[in-house]
Structure formats: C-alpha cells, structure tokens
Symmetry: C2
Subunit: 292 residues, 2 copies
Amino acid sequence: MNDLKAFFAEVSALVNAELEWLIPAEGPGPRSLRDAMRWSLFGGGKHFRPGLVFAVGRTFGALDEKLVRTAAAVEMIHTYSLIHDDLPSMDDDDLRRGRETCHKKFGEATAILAGDALQVIAFQAIAEDEKLSHGTRIDLIRGLSRAAARMVVGQQHDLEAEGKELNLEEIETIHVNKTGALIAFSAAAGAIVAGAEAKDVAVVSKYAEGLGLLFQITDDLLDVTATSEELGKTAGKDLAAEKATYPKVLGVDATRTKLSEVLEVTASLLDRLSVETSLLRSIADFLVSRRF
Amino acid sequence: MNDLKAFFAEVSALVNAELEWLIPAEGPGPRSLRDAMRWSLFGGGKHFRPGLVFAVGRTFGALDEKLVRTAAAVEMIHTYSLIHDDLPSMDDDDLRRGRETCHKKFGEATAILAGDALQVIAFQAIAEDEKLSHGTRIDLIRGLSRAAARMVVGQQHDLEAEGKELNLEEIETIHVNKTGALIAFSAAAGAIVAGAEAKDVAVVSKYAEGLGLLFQITDDLLDVTATSEELGKTAGKDLAAEKATYPKVLGVDATRTKLSEVLEVTASLLDRLSVETSLLRSIADFLVSRRF
C-alpha cells in the first residue's frame, strides 16, 4: 500500500506539472476564467484517473513522457464534469474536496465557462501532443469523446432519478456512464499509448469498469458511514437528496458483500494479460480499503 | 443574391441530414437530453458557419462528402455556445431564433448538459470521420478546439464588460474571440479538408475574420434598427444590457462607414488567391446587406 501511495504521489507531481504548463497562472485572457479553472484543477484531487493512465501505460511499457499529456487531459475532463455537476441547477454543492466549489468562489457564469474551457482544452491538448502519432491521437480523442458523452448521459439520468425508487440495474446504468466511462477510458488510454493489442485494450477497459464500480460502491458506503470532514464534501448528501445508492437498495451489509464479489471478478480479469499486473491488482485492493 | 440563397438552402439540407444522422430523434440515453440538443440544433439556424465550410471547401475543390461532417461539427459548437450563452447566469435570454431558448423549454440543468454534449459530440464526429486522413482530422480538431477555447474567453470578456464603457479595440477583442474565432475556423476548415496550401488557409482565415467583423457590426446595427419580430430575438437587448456595441461607441452613421471599410479590406484579401472566388465575394456582400 505504501508503494501505491508513492506511485500516486509521483503521478500527481507529473500531472500537476503538465497542467501548470497547459494552463499557467499567468497568461492571456480573463484572469477570473484562468483562476476558476486552476481553482478546480489544483483543488487537491486524488488523480485516480491519471493514475490509471500511468499504471496501465507503464504496465504495457509506455514511457511517462508519452502518457503525461493524456493523463492531464483526463483530469481536465474529470474536473470540468465536477464543476458542472456541482452547479446550483444540478447537484447544488457548496463544498468539493474540502473547499468552496467553483461557482461558490467565482460565480455561476464563470464556473460554467471554466468547465466549458477545460473540456475543450483537454481535446486540444491531445490533438497537439507531438509525442504521439496522428493515429494514436485520433484513437485517444475518439475514446475520450465517447467517454465524455456518456458522462453527460449519466448525469442527466442521475438528475432525472432523484426522488425515484431505482433498482440495482438502473443504478448501475447511471454509474457506468457517469463515472465508469472515464475510468474505463483512462485505463484504455494507457494501453493505447503503449501500442497494446486491441484485445488487451479491451481487457483493461473491462478491468477499469470494475474499478469504477468498486469506486462507486465504496463512495456510497462512505456517504453513509463517514463524516463530512473525512470526505471533504457534505456527508449524508446522497441520502438527503434521495439519490439512488447501493446501501439504500441493498442495505449496508449486502453492499459490503457486493463489494467483495466485484473485487474478485475485477482482479481475475488481469489473469488474461501476459504482462506483470501487480500494480493494477493493488489499485483494485486499494479502492476497496479506502476510508475517504 | 438568389444564387447565394440557393447555396445556403443546399448547405442547410446537407448539414441537417448529417446532424439527423449524428443525433437522431430516436436512440439510447435520456429522451430529454436528446430533445434539448435537437431543439437547439434544428431551431432554424441560418447555417452561416457550415456555409463557409462548404463555400471555401468547394472553392478549393473539396468534395461535399468530405466537408459535411466538419460543417456539422462547426454547427454543433456554434449551437452549444448559444445554449450556454443564453443561460440565466449569462445573457439570460428567453427567445432565440423566434422560439424559446433551450433552458426555457427544458430547464437549466438539461440545457447545460445539452450544450456539454454538443461540444463533445462535435469533436467525436470529426475524430470518427473515416472520409478524412488522420492528419486532416488532427488539423481540424486542433483548429476547432482553439476556436472553441477562444469563444469561451470572448464570452467571459463580454460578461465582464457589461455596464462598462469600452473603446473600439476592447469591443473588437471580444468579437474576434466570441464570434470571429469560429467563423475564421469554418473557412480554414474548408481549405484544410481540400488540402489547400498553408498560405491559402491563412488567407481564407483572415477573410473570414473580416466576415466575422462584418457580421457583428451588422448585428449591432440591427439591434438598434430592427424589430424583435424581424430578428427572431429581443431587439434593443444589447442597449438595455449596456453592452458595448459599435453604434454605442461610434454612433449609427460612423458604424455604417466602418462597415463599408471592412467590406473593402475583406474582399480585397481574396485577390491573393489563384482560385475562382466569386462565391466568397458574394458572401461578404450578402452579410453587409442583410436586414435580419
């Protein structure tokens, strides 16, 4: 687990440096827009998705310098989605990662525009990554755009589900799109950059879908069992908003059982790869054990 | 001028068919999101930007089938920007192209998400355009993403300028980004798809920047001189919002003089091209003469 901590610390340093280069503190254009993007980008995110890009990329032998731009792009898409999801007309959140949400700090219009800008800069960054071939860039943009479109679909489903009784299948449809799609792409991206075979790209995508599910189930559990201070966001919020969650449908104990089952299935996928997968396996274990 | 009407009618038919294929009325995902995207996409837009893609593309000898996807992508980016610009926290507009704005019809959350989705589908559509080489697709995505980023910058500038006294240079900085960037890209895109030389791509970009300026100056004039019914949106709105406009800074007569000057400069750029440019010239003339 200490190795994994060091790994994610290394990823954060690499990704933050790339993001600093892509969206520096000083530059042309309105100051507030730049500040708003940076407020959310450098807001203490755990860099789980960029971590997956690096973990899978390194697993298949890609150099860091070929992975870092894509990892930063994924983080920009993730951050844009958080900014928009937090808006008053959406989830109406005041707190994110332990501090004010973007619209609380900079106003609603600037927050919407900061999200819009982050989304487009993510695509620009990949399109202009001279370290990758045109074909690789196209594959990445295709995958990232599909994931980002599915995130919007998931968010719309999620909003429409508030106050409704959902079954497990409906809940999973939301998560698979809203959070799973970008997590799956992050893993696939690492393999794509490394030039892995299509069948291996498919396996790591599937593995990462499993991670997404583990992530969500743990998140739902923590919303019930952790405090706001531990989470860095409002605890009990899903419950209060009558959101569909695993504990709400299954109860806490059955949710824990489900978590173990998904972990087993996810880890077993890695047996299909002919590369050393201990890093990927430890990420799955870590997700299940996290406390905040 | 009748030729130009027929040209734009043809472009509208081609682009609408492509958009119908990209975002059909029936399909997976939440109905409301699809309906909201289509409400704004098929809301009677004049397809000026897609028209430029075709006009420049044909001028340099590109086939329609290679141009139509890019033309549709440009229209999606334009539409997304209108949806977000109309939001209550931005320009707060109820009326667009003679009918309810997206958020009036579908609610704010769905409108934000419809805009987000249109932006990303635009990039996906180009990335997946099998009629173009990888290199061409990358050049288009690079140009489109840069334009879209500048649109956000222009909108943020515009919002921050409300109620302030701006000089002409500041007004033009806003327009060059907010509307000019995508217009310039639309022209460049046609030349890129046609495989035109870099120097010719630069000339048509410059020409289209001129068109953007002509478009904006005419728009500002019409806000003062036309009725809401003619415009299909609220007339006198810029004045009421204390927005910086050409007539406000220069007065109506000097604005008309400025219009003639920009037309002359814009048209003269076309002399640098060694292809037949009468279609491009007639578009410039048309912009200046439009009444709504």
